[in-house]
């Protein structure tokens, strides 16, 4: 048992780190894509500048939108930032916390809640594209969420807990002794990460072409600081997913105490893991075309079957 104050301070620090670094990861992926296309690309800090610009702008709102519409960006951001507090970024907990703040099940549920709020907001504003984007996003969510749960459960069975921090700590002790179910779960997670972060081949984050967008379609009616909140939530969600994959499958280099050397090592390990996974996202996005929407279930079906088998092999 560690003291609740230290636990809370660590959690807040880790969540703040994820929120602050979220846009940087997006910037990194965009830079990587630009370099692969032989362009120079925008600076790594461009997502921060975009956010700062949006925060300075005024808000324009559709006449048909209800008062609830204004609250949606804040709620989405809150749900996403809360998930960021449930992940081990730098520290691995030494034992069960006296103040449990949530486990993997709540994490997936909060991501689903953010998705639901975004879709409701898009429908509320009354735009045609918003409705279409919401319908598509929910279809993808229907396929992603159960698979995500299955993959997380497969790892949770081996660790004996659903708390992501404890799971990472216990698996770190095993030092990457991967078995067949772990590999299948990792493949499933990598496929799902592409869908969950809204990247090619499922969604294209760069396009605003009406027929192809999923996630962007839902943001059309938002503007100004509200849009900034949602865009920040998207950056954070992406980093949360990457950190979740890292915590479940590459739980190396997590710090135990607060010694500066240990923390520097943990930070470096975290950076390496995130850069590795972000490079994977960027490379896939540069080398594949976006799938036709009716082909997406087939692609995600592979992830679902992999996740199911990962759990089945673990139990059998």
């Amino acid at each position: 048992m560690e003291s609740s104050v230290a636990h809370l301070a660590r959690t807040a620090l880790q969540a703040a780190l994820l929120v602050l670094l979220g846009p940087l990861v997006t910037g990194f992926i965009q830079k990587l894509k630009a370099r692969l296309q032989c362009r120079r690309g925008a600076s790594l800090w461009q997502p921060y500048r975009d956010l700062a610009k949006l925060l300075r702008k005024g808000t324009v709102q559709s006449d048909t939108a209800s008062p609830f519409f204004r609250a949606i960006p804040v709620l989405v951001l809150a749900a996403t930032v809360t998930t960021a507090a449930m992940l081990p970024v730098l520290w691995a907990p030494s034992g069960p916390s006296s103040l449990p703040l949530g486990d993997a099940i709540l994490l997936v549920a909060l991501l689903a809640l953010a998705r639901f709020l975004l879709a409701i907001g898009a429908l509320d504003a009354g735009g045609a594209f918003g409705g279409m984007g919401a319908s598509r996003e929910m279809t993808v969510g229907l396929l992603v969420e159960p698979a995500l749960m299955l993959a997380v459960f497969s790892v949770a069975v081996s660790g004996g807990t659903t708390d992501v921090g404890l799971l990472a700590a216990r698996r770190e002790a095993l030092a990457l002794s991967w078995t067949a179910p772990d590999l299948l779960a990792l493949f499933a997670m990598l496929i799902l990460a592409l869908a969950e972060t809204g990247r090619i081949p499922v969604d294209n984050p760069d396009t605003h072409l009406e027929l192809t967008m999923l996630h962007e379609g839902m943001l059309l009616e938002h503007s100004g600081p509200g849009l900034a909140c949602i865009v920040l939530a998207t950056h954070v969600k992406q980093l949360v997913i990457l950190t979740l994959v890292a915590a479940l499958f590459l739980p190396l280099g997590l710090a135990r105490g607060a010694a500066p050397g240990e923390l520097a090592l943990a930070l470096a390990a975290f950076a390496v893991k995130v850069v590795l996974l972000a490079t994977f996202l960027g490379l896939v996005e540069s080398s594949y075309a976006k799938l036709r929407f009716f082909r997406v279930p087939q692609f995600l079906g592979l992830g679902l079957v992999c996740a199911f088998l990962a759990l089945a092999l673990r139990v059998l």
Binding site: S177, W178, T179, A180, P181, D182, L183, L184, F187, R295, P297, Q298, F299, G301, L302, L304, V305, C306, F308, L309, A312, L313, L316
Partner: protein, 218 residues
Amino acid sequence: MSVELATRLIDVLGGLLLFTMLLILAAGQVFRAIYAVAAQAVFLGIAGAVLAAATGSVDLWIIAGITIGAKAILLPWLLIRVVRRVHISREIEPVIPTTVTLTLAAGIVVLAFHLNASLGSVRQAITGNALPVGVTLILIGVLVMASRRKALVQMVGLFASENGIFFTAMAVSQGMPLIIEIGVILDVVLGALVMGILVLRVRSSVDADIADLESLRG
């Protein structure tokens, strides 16, 4: 190499074989299915090499080498050549939707692992879970053959099935005798050649596909 390490490596390679099998099943294009079966043969060869290192059997080293040479390089090259020559559409045309075959495959895997419990006395200690993985590969290979319209993809299913038989042989005994393994591989290569030539000839003389044969009535 210690027995424990070999068991773990074979276990991991079994997972990779399963994953490549699912890739073959989920592939939307002929080329992807061929690359996936080539990757599967590479993993199979590595599994053979691991087993060879663990048991010190020279035969297994030779078999692993032949597997990689013939199944991972020669056969995929042949298939790709045929695909390029016949100018067929690159899309795989499944008889039943891919999502359904994926579901069936999940059922097959669960079944194979469930049955494995009653086959405990057959398998070796060193290969762990290789037996159910091998059985799964055989059955899913048959599923690919049954559920795809294109002759070339059916060939991919056959090779995957063959890989499964190989892996099963490794699981229950330390591979078959060398002479039989070489004979089997020669058979497979010859079969692939004959089928490849047949596909080319059928395409060039009559513009028909395997699926068109179904409408033939005696």
